[in-house]
Symmetry: C2
Subunit: 240 residues, 2 copies
Amino acid sequence: MNLILLRAEELAPTGAGSQRAVLRDRRLQHLREVLRARVGDEVGVGVEGGAIGKATIINLDAQAAELELRLDEPPPPPLDVTLALALPRPPTLRKVLQQATALGVKRFALFRAERVERSYFSSHGLHASALAEDLQLGLEQARDTIVPTVEVHPEHFGRFVRERLPELCEGRAPLVAHPGAATPCPRAPIGPATLIVGPEGGFIPAEVALLKSLAQAIDLGPRILRVETAVVALLARLSP
Amino acid sequence: MNLILLRAEELAPTGAGSQRAVLRDRRLQHLREVLRARVGDEVGVGVEGGAIGKATIINLDAQAAELELRLDEPPPPPLDVTLALALPRPPTLRKVLQQATALGVKRFALFRAERVERSYFSSHGLHASALAEDLQLGLEQARDTIVPTVEVHPEHFGRFVRERLPELCEGRAPLVAHPGAATPCPRAPIGPATLIVGPEGGFIPAEVALLKSLAQAIDLGPRILRVETAVVALLARLSP
């Protein structure tokens, strides 16, 4: 946790024109047990959707931490890549959400494909609270405050591609990661993009054919990578 | 597992000039339970240190699988980046070894730094069998056969840098990942390189100063990434 993320409603003005916040949850525990912070220490803070900065701990005990805030920097710029991902198994989903959020992705769309097990769509990892936790871990890691959106598309793949993917790609460069594609993944930012990544085991041929009619197929070389590795590798190449 | 990795001593010639192998361990289990393979199916295989290719399953039961091998392709080219990594906590080490091996790294050097907990050097993850398993998982993922080497350097950081790091960097471009460095991480292969990556929380200033006298400091942008994410991002940019 490189940044303690506060919600706007947790901020209270002080007489002196600065702002304070009081923590009582896992962030308090983190301050005490991981950072072993003391009164007077400075820690990184940010407000959901807003600025980042520093906080001075002005009171700290087992029940609460009181912080005085100086929020004077913008969060890091987002990575303007929408990640459309065939829903992976729950532990992989967590890794991808945390890491892609840390890398700056602000929109995720999780879809069904032939090689996606149906049970994944009823996993706990898709509950709003589980998604929120993974996104928050990614933001805290990267000192970011802008919470990504996550859409879940359990409908049939063909319907997703015809009815939802065009909107996800509108005004953006559509890319589909496909091992063996003739075009290598770009090595520099290409402006707004939508990156489509298939399931472990890949898209089936009919899915590849449909996606190739809508998106540029790109390749990462001859090595077959796990989904979580491929996503980080692709985003790292597209990052500024 | 995109490739079943065989040891050279498991290969037996057949009269017809081809080769066979018999599996009885977790690879048999994988064939039966994950791939749900049947007699006549083809699977990807490779020989440690040698060629990759296809195998036809000619016998399969609960005790053994017999494969007929056609090993006629080279493994994917290695990534000529030596990864010198401050020893991370055991779960992170596993992720880094597996992912960096899948990306083609062939030499790892794990070293001590101020922010490395001493207990990590006595963790089970550094036992030869645990290391071998992580490397094998990475190779099986990427359809590779060339087993990387892993060196562990528990000596003091200063001694490691003075006495071992020069050899690790000899004839190679030395790079140290350091958030905030003025030079961005290269976005293309730069030939043989040694990439030095610090612990979660970073190198302390004295360590940075020492490393900067030996290696070019490079940066991945304003987002602070976890070690496993940073390693994949750096290697992805340096990969062909």
